[in-house]
Symmetry: C2
């Protein structure tokens, strides 16, 4: 399993570069950014345009992200399983009226796949596709729950960088907290100021496949809210674990 394919790497590097940047790129700016000569890039970029993975503005000579990736990416969201997940998350929001997230672990980061927010339904999906270091979030801690100390250290070779003043930065403290937690994991202003989170893992075949979390503005938090959320999360996790065998993720 030590095979790398340079043409594919080049193609993907272009897509990532263009999708990450807010400014459109020219062929030469892509060349500069990737350290690949324009003559190499030329046919690749043209093919990407032809296949609508990139779009080219002839007037400004600028490449930007095409619609194909949007289309392919949204196929995950169009699946029946995805509908079921947001439906189940909706029940939590109906009960507790707080924002609910669903995410998976991706190389040490939480990747947010779904979000339901009761107070502003129009902007529902604004954080979908975003990522945060797992150690700094409740949902991430749920995903890291079964990691031992060495695994944690190898996941973050550069250490635990703080996201806020409250972020856990010691591997030992993180591991201790993960060990101490039984069902739920918690976060107190560790990724966002003035926000608490409660999360729990979703299992598939006795392994953690995903996690669910609820975020609460700190001023709205009390013991009643906590037990309401924990009840709703537990109930939702039971339902999710019934459909999760069919997950793509």
């Amino acid at each position: 399993m030590r095979t790398e394919h340079k043409p594919t790497l080049r193609t993907l590097a272009i897509l990532e570069l263009v999708s990450a940047g807010s400014e459109p790129y020219t062929l030469t700016s892509i060349s500069r950014a990737l350290g690949i000569s324009p003559s190499t890039l030329f046919p690749i970029v043209h093919t990407l345009c032809e296949q609508r993975y990139l779009s080219y503005d002839e007037k400004n000579q600028a490449y930007s992200l095409g619609l194909k990736l949007f289309e392919i990416g949204s196929r995950i969201q169009s699946s029946h399983v995805y509908d079921r997940i947001t439906e189940i998350m909706g029940q939590i929001v109906d009960t507790c009226d707080e924002t609910c997230h669903f995410g998976v672990l991706d190389r040490g980061d939480v990747l947010y796949l779904a979000k339901v927010d009761s107070t502003n339904p129009i902007r529902m999906f604004s954080t979908i596709g975003k990522r945060l270091p797992a150690y700094g979030t409740a949902i991430g801690k749920a995903l890291l729950k079964n990691y031992d100390l060495d695994e944690l250290k190898s996941l973050y070779p550069e250490g635990l960088k703080p996201l806020t003043a409250h972020t856990i930065t010691s591997f030992e403290e993180l591991h201790q907290q993960l060990n101490d937690s039984d069902l739920f994991t918690y976060e107190v202003e560790e990724s966002n100021k003035s926000v608490r989170c409660i999360a729990l893992p979703i299992y598939r075949n006795k392994a953690i496949a995903a996690a669910l979390s609820v975020a609460i503005p700190i001023y709205r938090y009390d013991e009643g809210k906590k037990s309401c959320i924990e009840g709703a999360l537990k109930e939702a996790s039971i339902q999710l674990e019934q459909i999760i065998p069919y997950f793509v993720f």
Copy 2:
């Protein structure tokens, strides 16, 4: 502009194949589907896995869609412009309480980029990323408005296939209807039974860049509803045309 790059085409063909199919693929099944030898595919597919564009289930020896494409695809939805679009669409829904769509023309199809539905906010995005032939939808007609007869014919070389019993299947009739419409375009059960649609184009530099539509169940439709929707659509289009210069699409 006649340059094609086979390695890139192969890479993209794999991504499209795996993302389109509901079943997971093996290396050999990808090989069969694309007519490319497994030994060629081998390093490409491994690289795609390494970069998380594909994921590999070692137990079942099955490749499926990785999370990277979801991540990149959702970057369009995370943009500030996208937020603004859904916000403006939300105003239409607040006024008329009917489902609102936003889409662009993509090779003869409407590609739906955004949707706001007032009655079932949880399943908001279920049709995003989907596509329909433009000639069979109000939103598509808005996008085709400035096409002349020859352009329409070359866009659909295989003719206008009916989606329902009411779909327009004659190029002449379609072109006539596009010519007759002044601001709004209409659809009466041409793509979905029991659904009417009203749409209008969104302009950027005097060219049609996108379109907005509202769908109404036929039993709920009357002249009052029609004028309410047309007023809301017109108002929204003015706001959209102010932000549309910054569109990626």
